[in-house]
């Protein structure tokens, strides 16, 4: 396998972007990544997008977007694994470059979520659960994670305060990220006093509905050295992916995320790294409880210690292992197909030392973790300064 480098990253400001269509958001992010890399042609475009069919009534978007950016003729494909669609686009691009099938790949993620109303958005996101045996009974995504939270709380004594600390920390980080949807400082009491969505999860335990896009450009490491100039080169050291049952009822243990554990083990093994080696991480905090359970599944903390760690500040920007310096899904926003690619963009920016006020000092090894549904799929990537 060839070594693969990330030679460009592109983000746009995320939010409720009434004035921008899916194709407009996507093209702006893709051009930003190509400009950052200093190139204008690619061999392949990958697009992570969960449900353009239900959100905007458009399928076949990889070809549509290749045309939109003036590259009709290039190879293009879409990946889907619910909220992990973006990191699957990245993994597909990585495999293409590593294998030699492609040299330059434009990896992108996008989701346009606000063209439908809240009920339809909830329905569309609910298609990532088991339609016939979960959603049929009226359970929602906050509800599924709330059930895992109930089990985690009963087993380990995890508290609502500890969960709230995750949201408070991610909003504090998002204040420092110009691309974030929310620039809003919140307190523990703000979280605990917000509307209950599904017990024990409050509104401020939940990530929002967001329009957004993100992109990165991949190339073989030797070519990256020609293009990099004086910037640090960031390479892909490890890539792991795993699945679990979609339906919670089919899982033996609702107190842990098995797909995250497996994907993490595979990525650590490929990179020759362990949890203690990681300097900074972007993880899938679709709900506060998710970040707690993910930091346990990735080995940053022992099972049951994710909540206390968040409350003690161990995951803060200046903590033992800074988690979600971008603001995470909670504050940066969660346009589902774009999230996995934006995580790669953030860690690349951190490892280049270009993250400004939210820079984690001395970060040379970083990790991203992206998750589909209630943990039915997960990817983990480890990036390093080459």
């Amino acid at each position: 396998m060839r070594e693969v480098a990330i030679i460009g990253v592109g983000m746009i400001d995320w939010g409720e972007l009434w004035e921008k269509s899916l194709r407009r958001m996507w093209t702006e992010a893709a051009l930003a990544a190509l400009d950052d890399a200093g190139i204008d042609t690619v061999d392949l475009i990958t697009v992570g997008c969960m449900s353009p069919g239900l959100f905007v009534g458009q399928e076949h978007i990889a070809s549509l977007l290749a045309d939109e950016i003036g590259m009709a003729g290039v190879a293009a494909t879409r990946t889907e694994s619910a909220c992990a669609s973006g990191s699957l686009a990245f993994r597909a691009g990585f495999a293409e470059v590593a294998s030699g099938l492609s040299d330059i790949v434009l990896v992108t993620g996008v989701e346009k979520m606000t063209d439908v109303d809240g009920g339809d958005a909830t329905y569309t996101l609910g298609t990532a659960a088991d339609r016939e045996y979960e959603a049929f009974h009226g359970i929602t995504f906050p509800g599924l994670y709330a059930m895992m939270a109930q089990v985690h709380m009963a087993r380990y004594g995890t508290t609502s305060r500890q969960l709230a600390a995750v949201s408070v920390k991610n909003h504090a980080n998002g204040l420092l990220n110009p691309h974030a949807q929310y620039h809003l400082k919140i307190s523990i009491d703000d979280v605990l006093n917000s509307t209950m969505v599904a017990d024990p999860l409050h509104l401020f335990d939940c990530s929002p509905i967001t329009d957004g896009a993100a992109a990165v450009v991949l190339a073989p490491l030797d070519k990256a050295r020609d293009l990099a100039g004086k910037r640090p080169i960031v390479k892909v050291a490890g890539s792991g992916m795993a699945t679990d049952t979609i339906a919670l009822a089919n899982r033996e243990d609702l107190g842990k995320l098995r797909a995250v554990e497996l994907a993490g083990q595979r990525a650590y093994a490929m990179a020759g790294r362990s949890p203690n080696d990681i300097h900074v991480a972007e993880v899938h905090d679709c709900f506060s409880i998710s970040e707690v359970m993910v930091t346990e599944a990735l080995g940053f903390f022992e099972p049951g210690q994710g909540g206390p760690a968040a409350e003690r500040g161990l995951t803060a920007l200046n903590g033992k292992i800074p988690v979600n310096p971008s603001g995470g899904l909670k504050s940066k926003g969660h346009p589902v197909g774009a999230t996995g690619v934006a995580q790669i963009a953030e860690i690349t920016t951190q490892l280049r030392g270009e993250a400004g006020q939210r820079q984690v000092n001395g970060a040379r090894i970083g990790l991203t973790q992206n998750m589909g549904g209630s943990g039915g799929s997960s990817t983990v990537h480890i990036l390093e300064v080459a």
Binding site: G119, D120, T122, Y123, G126, D130, E132, Y133, E134, A135, F136, H137, G138, I139, T140, P142, G143, A146, M147, M148, Q150, V151, A154, T195, M196, V197, A198, D199, A247, L248, A249, N250, L254
Partner: protein
């Protein structure tokens, strides 16, 4: 939009609680499958689920999806039946949904699950009742 066929083909498991018992390893699969995830056996006999069990993971849905607007607050739980099979169900007849706790004993009853669909379909299935 639900079609009549889509609803009809679920009747054996939804209405009659039919499950598939693997003849090789005795694992009971609900809903039925054609290959056993535990031993990869492909031969099954049809069994009926027991109706008694307990709560494994409860929550109360306060913000409902389309079709459940009149049902909130809606208690929902993963329950484990006496033969070890787990399923997702609504919990009915709770005066205070927040009283539902892990370990509470329940039994299943045949009930209407959703409001009528736009196509006029009625959706039935099983809900848990706390004992």
């Amino acid at each position: 939009m639900e079609s009549p066929a889509r609803s009809w083909r679920e009747y054996p498991q939804r209405y009659r609680l039919e499950a598939a018992k693997c003849t090789k390893c005795d694992k009971v699969l609900y809903p039925p499958r054609v290959i056993c995830p535990a031993c990869h056996g492909r031969d099954f006999e049809t069994v009926t689920l027991p109706r008694e069990g307990h709560v494994v993971a409860p929550t109360v849905v306060r913000v409902p999806p389309t079709g459940f607007e009149e049902e909130t607050p809606l208690p929902v739980a993963v329950v484990e039946l006496s033969n070890g099979v787990r399923l997702m169900v609504q919990v009915a007849d709770m005066a205070d949904p927040l009283e539902l706790k892990i370990g509470d004993p329940i039994h299943l009853e045949f009930r209407r699950i959703q409001q009528d669909s736009e196509a006029g379909l009625l959706f039935y299935g099983h809900k848990a009742i706390r004992d």
